[in-house]
Amino acid sequence: MTKQEIRNFIAKRTAKFFNDGDVINLGIGMPTLCLDFLPEGVDIWIESENGVLGLAGAPENEEDGDIDIVDASGRVSTMRVGGCCFSSFDSFGLIRGGHVAATVLGAYEVDQEGNLANWMVPGKTCAGMGGAMDLVSGAKNVLIMMEHTDKYGNSKILKKCTLPLTAANEVDYIITELCVLHCTPEGLVLEELAPDVTVEDVIAKTDADLIIPEKIGSMV
């Protein structure tokens, strides 16, 4: 698969986690691809941390857009009919208060205890965590979509995260181009495999310990 095909494949599976009417927060980058793959009959409300419910994507022509409607990356966006705006304070109240069904983010590292590191690489990046820590501590479901390994082929799913954490014990599912992993109190359960991927393939590319159930589903 090409890089784009991998991203689309992960997004398509992730979008299947959404139920009709869910309020979903999508992180910047790959998570926004989920909107292209919503299952039929599933209509979701996009919550954006900057204070809007019902964001609807970039306008066809940026010049036609309202510069007072932006998404979580600060780019001009649009709102659907029925959407509403509120303050950052209200927004994080929705997020921490459990009123957001799922938050979807990328990660540098995830570990078998459900710890997530996605905001800082000491000595390399110091952008700040933005809303990520609140999103991960507050949303009902934390879905991590990412490529299984880094660009050097090293597992991003570890026994123990090495980078500063974004949140501890908060991740619910990890969706990669190889598999879907469910973070449970007992550990990471291999719930689904991508087509033509074997249990052995996943184990070989994963640093974390995995729980292999008798029955494993398919990602498609």
């Binding site: 954006s48 941390e49 900057n50 204070g51 809007v52 309202d66 510069i67 007072d68 409607i69 932006v70 990356s73 600060g74 709102m79 705006c85 509120f86 303050s87 950052s88 304070f89 927004s91 994080f92 997020i95 921490r96 710890n115 800082m120 990046t125 110091c126 952008a127 700040g128 965590m129 933005g130 809303g131 990520a132 820590m133 609140d134 501590s137 507050g138 500063p164 954490l165 974004t166 949140a167 501890a168 014990n169």
Partner: protein
Amino acid sequence: MKEKVVSIEEAVSHIHDGLTIMVPGFVNCGVPQTLIQAMLDKGVKDLNIISNNTSVKGKGIGKLVHAEAIKHITCSHIGNNVETVEKVVNGEINVTFVPQGTLCERMRAGGAGLGGVLTPTGLGTPMQEGKQVVEWDKEKGEYKFVTDADPKKGPRYVLELPLHADVAIIHAWKADKIGNVVYHRTARNFNPIMATAADLVIVEAEEIVEVGALDPDVIVTPSCLVDMIVQANPEDRN
């Protein structure tokens, strides 16, 4: 009824070197561009800024970054502005990162007379370091302070302290002449919270309207929070 509309010169005469100033905005949306430009023109420096981020390079709060007017910044994110990142890495600006929701709550506490807030955000992360952590003791029905670092126990919360500023500069869509304010779309963001948490609150409004022209049911920031109102200049957005 005291009308509060003043000239930009009068407003900026209250902003001095070294003050702590709350500046709203999400990336470059909802940023008080006219008041920032006036601060630049005045040449204020050594500012302690409390903001969510620093706009983008050369725009909004990024203008204050470029002019080296900022000594310290308390914020959640600087990644949208490469110049801020550069100055932080070079030690020209000190930064204290605060998770975005915690930043909101700390300002709310500062503006609402609370001694602090308990939040789960940051537990088990570097944000917990140096802070007090409490755990709910179900049997006793009380909180106790804990010192071990196990986020699995709990429910646990980080005690975060209030934030307050000398001045908050606010960007309104419409303000009436006594300071009732409404905001437009996502340009609302941090504006209403910051308007509660500073000694002096200066509002720039895209449109200044007569008292009574705003529907009381849609007013977001009540007039009693606002000290001064200036006319925003759309050209300062560029």
